[in-house]
Each structure stands twice: as structure tokens, then as C-alpha cells.
């Protein structure tokens, strides 16, 4: 039952990315191209999602457990540190180069795009590398 629900949520999310045009890297790049011919569509995608999510997270904050009885994890105790800043800047560079962020890249695999599959394999390698470096003794 939980597995079906998670699958359907992934399906809905993917449908939203497709409808919003976010699985088209050229469109995403056009959003990032404010100095050129700018397509502001991505701001509408993010705005629509944030408006709905705002109410859900307000409700979630007041609950200890989810409707299916799971502990609600909000990850609100982590600091704004060097890892967050460096990581976000590095992510943005890769996003600007390709027009792909993680969600749309995965959806594009389902569109039969071999280049998206290549991107996802490289992305997974980057994640493993970051995790490996994070586990090294510091100092």
C-alpha cells in the first residue's frame, strides 16, 4: 500500500514536471538566460508548487506523525554552512551547462533519452563521490 502511494506520488511529480515543461532542457536553459531571450515559465512551476506546499508544510509542522503513521522528518536543524553554499553553487553550474536537475533527468529516462541516462549515471557517480569525501577524516 505504501509502495503504491509512493509510486503514484512519483508519477504525479513526473507529470507535473512534464506539463510544466521542465523535462525540456532547452526551456530550463531559457529560464536561466536572463541576459538573452528569457522564458520565465520555470518561475510559474516553482511558484505553483510552493503555494500548494506552503499549506501542506504548515499542517505537517504541527503533526508528530504522518497520516500513514510515520515520523515527520523536516530537517530544519542543519546550519547554513560551507557545504551548503559550495554544493549549491556547483549544482547550479551543472544545471546551467545541461538544463537538467535531478528530477527532470530521471523523467527523461522514461522518455527514452539515452543522453538523460548518461547524465543520471554521471550524477549518481557525483553523489557517491561527495558521500565518500564526506566520510574522510577531517583536519
Amino acid at each position: 500500500m505504501q509502495r503504491i502511494s509512493e509510486f503514484l506520488i512519483g508519477l504525479t511529480f513526473g507529470g507535473g514536471l512534464l506539463l510544466g515543461g521542465m523535462t525540456d532542457p532547452a526551456k530550463v536553459k531559457a529560464f536561466l538566460d536572463i541576459a538573452g531571450l528569457w522564458d520565465p515559465s520555470l518561475a510559474f512551476v516553482m511558484g505553483g508548487a510552493v503555494i500548494v506546499g506552503f499549506f501542506a508544510f504548515r499542517i505537517a509542522r504541527r503533526q508528530a506523525r504522518s497520516l500513514l503513521g510515520r515520523v515527520i522528518i523536516l530537517n530544519d536543524t542543519m546550519p547554513i554552512d560551507g557545504a551548503l553554499i559550495t554544493g549549491s553553487i556547483v549544482f547550479g553550474i551543472g544545471w546551467g551547462l545541461s538544463g537538467f536537475c535531478p528530477g527532470p533527468a530521471l523523467v527523461s529516462i522514461g522518455m527514452g533519452e539515452w543522453k538523460a541516462a548518461l547524465f543520471v549515471v554521471a550524477m549518481a557517480a557525483g553523489m557517491v563521490l561527495a558521500g565518500y569525501l564526506n566520510r574522510q577524516p577531517k583536519g
Partner: protein, 145 residues
């Protein structure tokens, strides 16, 4: 700056955004988790016992979305330009950056901003800003794209 009116899709994009918001809401209210794709995928690398099935179900739903869309007669387009090696480098940067910064467009950009997390607001400004500078630099250097 000039607006690209030929490709601007305010209504479908707003509709897509609302669907994404519904999915993120269902994920936190039903499953108690933040719908952040990079964390859901990254947490499965390497897979940990008892913590893999929910991640796989969600990610399979994402990948299945275009199949459903096609079955409903909607043909999504994806204009992927750039070489294979360029995409591999970009993928590495996206994977490394989202793992280091603990989130991507869905985790920080949607779920983080929706709950007014200062950390996610900072992350989103940084990755959108660095994406914009990158696209500008590609054009300024005449590297195509």
C-alpha cells in the same frame, strides 16, 4: 533582457507546478518525508537494508510518468543539446553539488521554500544564480548552447 513570448507557457507551467505541489504535499502528509529527488536518490547510493523500497517506488513513478503521458496522447518534447562528454561533466557537477548541498530544485527549491527554511532559500538563490551566470558565460564565451 527580453521575454521569449514564443516559448513562454504560463498556464501549463503553473498547472505543472500545482501538480508538483500536490505531490510534495502528499509525500510529507502521508509519508512524513520531504520530496527531494537528489536526497531520495543519493540515500540509495549505496542501498541500505530496509531503506530502499520507498526510494525505488518513488523514483520508478518519476520514470514511468512519460509512459503514462504517452498513453494519454501527450507527447513530451525534450531538446537535449550538447555532447555526451559535456552532459557527463554536468551530471557529475549536479550529483556532487546536490549531495554536498543536501538538496536540489525539488528539495530546496520547492519543499524548502514552501516551509520558509532559511537554508533552502539561500541554497535556491545560489543555484539559480550560479545557473544564470553559467548560461551567460557559455554565451559570452561563444561556446554555443
Amino acid at each position: 533582457m527580453s521575454l521569449d513570448w514564443n516559448h513562454f507557457t504560463p498556464l501549463p507551467s503553473l498547472g505543472g507546478g500545482l501538480l508538483i505541489g500536490v505531490a510534495a504535499s502528499a509525500f510529507i502528509l502521508l509519508h512524513g518525508r520531504i520530496m527531494g529527488v537528489s536526497s531520495i536518490l543519493g540515500g540509495a547510493l549505496p542501498p541500505k537494508k530496509g531503506d530502499i523500497a520507498w526510494r525505488t517506488s518513488f523514483l520508478l513513478g518519476l520514470i514511468a510518468a512519460p509512459l503514462l503521458a504517452r498513453a494519454l496522447g501527450f507527447l513530451p518534447i525534450g531538446r537535449i543539446d550538447g555532447s555526451a562528454s559535456g552532459l557527463a561533466v554536468a551530471g557529475l557537477l549536479v550529483g556532487f553539488g546536490t549531495a554536498l548541498g543536501s538538496g536540489c530544485t525539488s528539495g530546496h527549491g520547492v519543499c524548502g521554500i514552501a516551509r520558509l527554511s532559511p537554508r533552502s532559500i539561500v541554497a535556491t538563490i545560489l543555484f539559480v544564480g550560479s545557473g544564470m551566470v553559467t548560461v551567460w558565460a557559455i554565451h559570452a564565451l561563444g561556446l554555443g548552447g
